[in-house]
């Protein structure tokens, strides 16, 4: 669970650093306050979050193609009209922050959802034209079967069902033509972005946040990156008992298209009617996926969004959408591991503090007692400090979010989030919210010990045993 802490740490600084959430929050706030002229929108104020337990985020946009096929975008100019003028950028940022449920005011959430819903799908002809440009052949020839009606909306594209020439059922994500260029151009307005960020996070290193945001968004609009991330993780989890990642069909994937195996399964919303035991198993898989990926594949999917999971029962989960994956170096992971070890295992607050300082989370020589620092950040480690079963509730997830946005603590001003870790904040905000929504119970500490490289604990659950067997097979194959 150090992961949590990582986030936690990140989080603590997060009031300032959660660039995207803050941005949105700020925007929402404006709208919330709806002050003066339209301008008032950006009025400054304290963070606003609902006190209630995190709800499932609205998976904005999922229905949009169902809603407005009659308004389908027919040309690249339609795309530019719809998603130009910063709208595509705001949508990407909104998507990045959309899981930050409680960190956003209802008004902001609504606005982001509306923005996504306002984007119609591509007409069948426009989508086919993109495929033809990418593959050099129209979809009817590049595939054995091609469904011209999209089955889902992606943030800047849409998903079509198809069957490959060699008979595999696939999902093909097709990007809106011209959107990559539009977003790149809008991200070029550094002055405007910086202005928004400065309003949102006046004390932070705006340039670091801005750089991270721009890089991540630019990566996301190149689907080749997504295909390679997905291939990497699909390869890593090959044969895993409960974690499934659809394989990418590389020869049918390009800058604006990514083709992968089609998956069935139930949506997150369906879990509400599943037994608590099933929900716990699903949560355990999600948890293992996040931390195995981080500590072993050194990759973090920055989009821990319920809309990206498909559930098959017995804890089996398919993970989708690898557009926003952050890769870490061993050196970047070390401080995170050290903080987890010092605070959860060794119970050495001073060493924990040094770890924070060395990683850049805490300003050195801050006039704070180490105890105050630990107390401030402890909430992020609550699930993994002690062994034993523990239920993650919506209230707990809310308290994490509240701490995340707590700018009033005397500790907050000395904490910031180094650029490399900005994306990890999503764990605090996204993963906890998902687990809280499931009211999931597990011995999170024991699972963390299985995963922590400095403990390598024994399997603590049946799933852990199956996973251990998988790891043994993996190593045997590798050897």
């Amino acid at each position: 669970m150090k992961v949590w802490r990582l986030f936690a740490v990140v989080t603590a600084g997060g009031a300032a650093a959660a660039l995207t959430p803050v941005l949105l929050r700020r925007l929402g706030q404006l709208r919330y306050d709806r002050g003066l002229a339209a301008l008032r929108l950006l009025v400054r104020g304290g963070a606003r979050y609902a006190g209630s337990a995190p709800r499932l985020f609205v998976t904005a946009g999922e229905q949009r193609q169902l809603l407005r096929e009659d308004l389908a975008l027919q040309t690249a100019e339609d795309v530019a009209d719809t998603l130009g003028a910063m709208k595509g950028v705001m949508m990407k940022i909104g998507q990045m922050a959309s899981y930050v449920d409680d960190g956003l005011s209802p008004a902001v959430r609504r606005t982001l959802a509306r923005l996504q819903d306002s984007v119609p799908p591509m007409s069948p002809q426009l989508a086919a034209a993109v495929v033809a440009e990418e593959l050099g052949a129209p979809p009817e020839r590049a595939f054995a079967r091609w469904d011209p009606q999209p089955i889902a909306a992606a943030s800047i594209g849409q998903v079509h069902r198809a069957v490959t020439l060699d008979g595999r059922a696939v999902a093909v994500k097709v990007q809106y033509p011209g959107i990559a260029e539009t977003i790149a151009a809008d991200l070029g307005n550094v002055a405007l972005l910086r202005r928004m960020l400065r309003i949102a996070a006046p004390a932070q290193d705006i340039d670091a946040l801005l750089t991270e945001l721009r890089e991540r968004v630019l990566e996301e609009v190149d689907y080749r990156r997504e295909a390679s991330n997905q291939s990497l993780l699909a390869g890593y989890y090959d044969g895993h008992p409960t974690i499934h990642i659809p394989r990418v069909i590389s020869e049918l994937s390009t800058r604006r298209m990514v083709t992968s195996e089609l998956s069935g399964g139930s949506r997150f919303a369906a879990l509400a009617s599943w037994s608590q035991q099933e929900r716990d198993l699903a949560a355990e898989t999600i948890y293992r996926f996040v931390f195995r990926s981080l500590y072993e594949a050194r990759a973090f999917n920055g989009d821990p969004h319920p809309g990206n999971y498909l559930f098959h029962g017995d804890g089996r989960v398919t993970f989708l959408d690898f557009g926003l994956v952050k890769h870490f170096t061993q050196a970047e992971l070390q401080p995170l591991l050290q903080m987890a070890r010092t605070v959860c295992v060794e119970h050495d607050p001073e060493a924990f503090r040094r770890g924070l300082e060395n990683a850049g989370f805490l300003r050195p020589h801050a006039p704070l007692s180490t105890q105050a620092i630990v107390e401030h950040l402890a909430v992020f480690y609550d699930t993994i400090r002690e062994p034993g079963p523990l239920t993650i509730t919506g209230d707990y997830a809310s308290s994490v979010v509240r701490r995340f946005f707590d700018v009033h603590s005397p500790v907050a001003e000395y904490i910031s989030v180094p650029r490399s870790y900005v994306l990890l904040q999503r764990i605090n905000l996204g993963l906890f919210a998902v687990l809280g929504e499931l009211t999931a119970t597990a011995d999170w500490r024991a699972i963390a010990e299985e995963i922590w490289p400095f403990t390598r604990g024994p399997a603590s659950t049946p799933m852990g045993e199956a996973e251990a067997a998988w790891r043994t097979r993996r190593q045997a194959i590798a050897a």
Binding site: R34, L39, L41, A85, M90, V108, R195
Partner: protein, 297 residues
């Protein structure tokens, strides 16, 4: 009177958006006075529409008698946002509403105008809101501002479509009581008309205060003002030089392609905020759907 007698501009976006939504019918029985194939619908849905609105207010306020009518009778100072929201609702109803609905709101406005009359303290001239000359000024500046803002920041109209737009909009002037023969029917007519009124224009104290309020609502934070400045400068940038000089505004930065893009980006952000208001997305989709259906295949 001083500027601080204005009520705070709370709720401008929400209330203006609500006004707009109220004017867009659910299941229109007819296409109203313009229709989905009109240039007017295209102009009204353009990203540059807020700049057009701001510019037209700046122009309208320079007519001392038009300004006096607004300043003394409309509750403008007491509830500026309400006044703007009412205008937003009116324009949406006239543009997108069914004929009966558009005629009804126009009749109501004519009724209100009938009670707005007096003597302007500055010029000593009598004014009446029902005076076709004043109504024509208000109408023409709106049309001209839409063209100017669209040209600079929106989807520019061809010369032919610009003329079509001016001609289409004549019915809006008629609806509030301007005899059709008085209303410019082409861009050239329109420019001649504006030039003919120019000698009557001046920046009165009421105009300076009203526009000062609108462009820089009191209490706006510095960094927020920075964001807003793009939109505000956009309106000022597309004013005629003489109008800008009357107000004493400095020359805005030249409208380089980069600057236009930056302003469009700010307009896009504002537009998203409007989009978040209840009913706006649905209203826009109703309009878009009808425009799509009205397109030649």
């Amino acid at each position: 009177m001083t500027a601080d007698q204005y009520a705070a501009a709370t709720g401008l976006i929400a209330r203006s958006a609500a006004g707009y939504v109220s004017g867009v019918p659910e299941d229109a029985a007819d296409d109203g006075f313009f229709g989905p194939a009109s240039v007017t619908w295209r102009v009204s849905t353009d990203l540059a529409a807020p700049v057009a609105g701001l510019r037209s207010l700046l122009m309208q306020a320079l007519h001392p008698l038009a300004m006096a009518g607004v300043d003394r009778h409309s509750g403008w100072r007491r509830d500026p946002v309400g006044r703007l929201a009412a205008t937003s609702a009116y324009l949406a109803a006239i543009t997108f509403g069914e004929r009966a609905a558009a005629s009804a709101v126009a009749a109501r406005v004519r009724g209100i105008h009938g009670h707005v009359r007096g003597t302007d303290a500055v010029t000593g001239r009598r004014y009446a809101a029902s005076d076709p000359a004043l109504l024509l000024w208000v109408h023409t500046t709106l049309v001209q501002s839409s063209l100017a803002a669209g040209w600079a920041f929106g989807a520019p109209l061809s010369a032919q479509d610009s003329d079509r737009y001016v001609a289409e909009m004549r019915v809006a002037a008629e609806l509030v009581g301007v005899p059709r023969p008085l209303v410019p029917a082409s861009v050239a007519d329109l420019e001649r008309y504006v030039a003919s009124v120019q000698p009557e224009l001046r920046c009165t104290l009421a105009a300076a205060e009203s526009m000062g309020y609108l462009l820089d609502p009191p209490g706006l934070e510095e960094d927020v003002a920075g964001f807003w400045r793009d939109v505000r400068d956009a309106a000022i940038a597309v004013l005629p030089d003489w109008a800008r000089e009357m107000y004493g505004y400095g020359l805005p930065p030249p409208l380089t392609p980069r600057r236009r893009t930056a302003i469009r980006q700010s307009l896009g952000i504002l537009d998203v905020m409007v989009l978040g208001e209840p009913g706006v997305l649905e209203a826009r989709q109703r309009i878009a759907q009808r425009m799509r259906a009205g397109q030649p295949a």
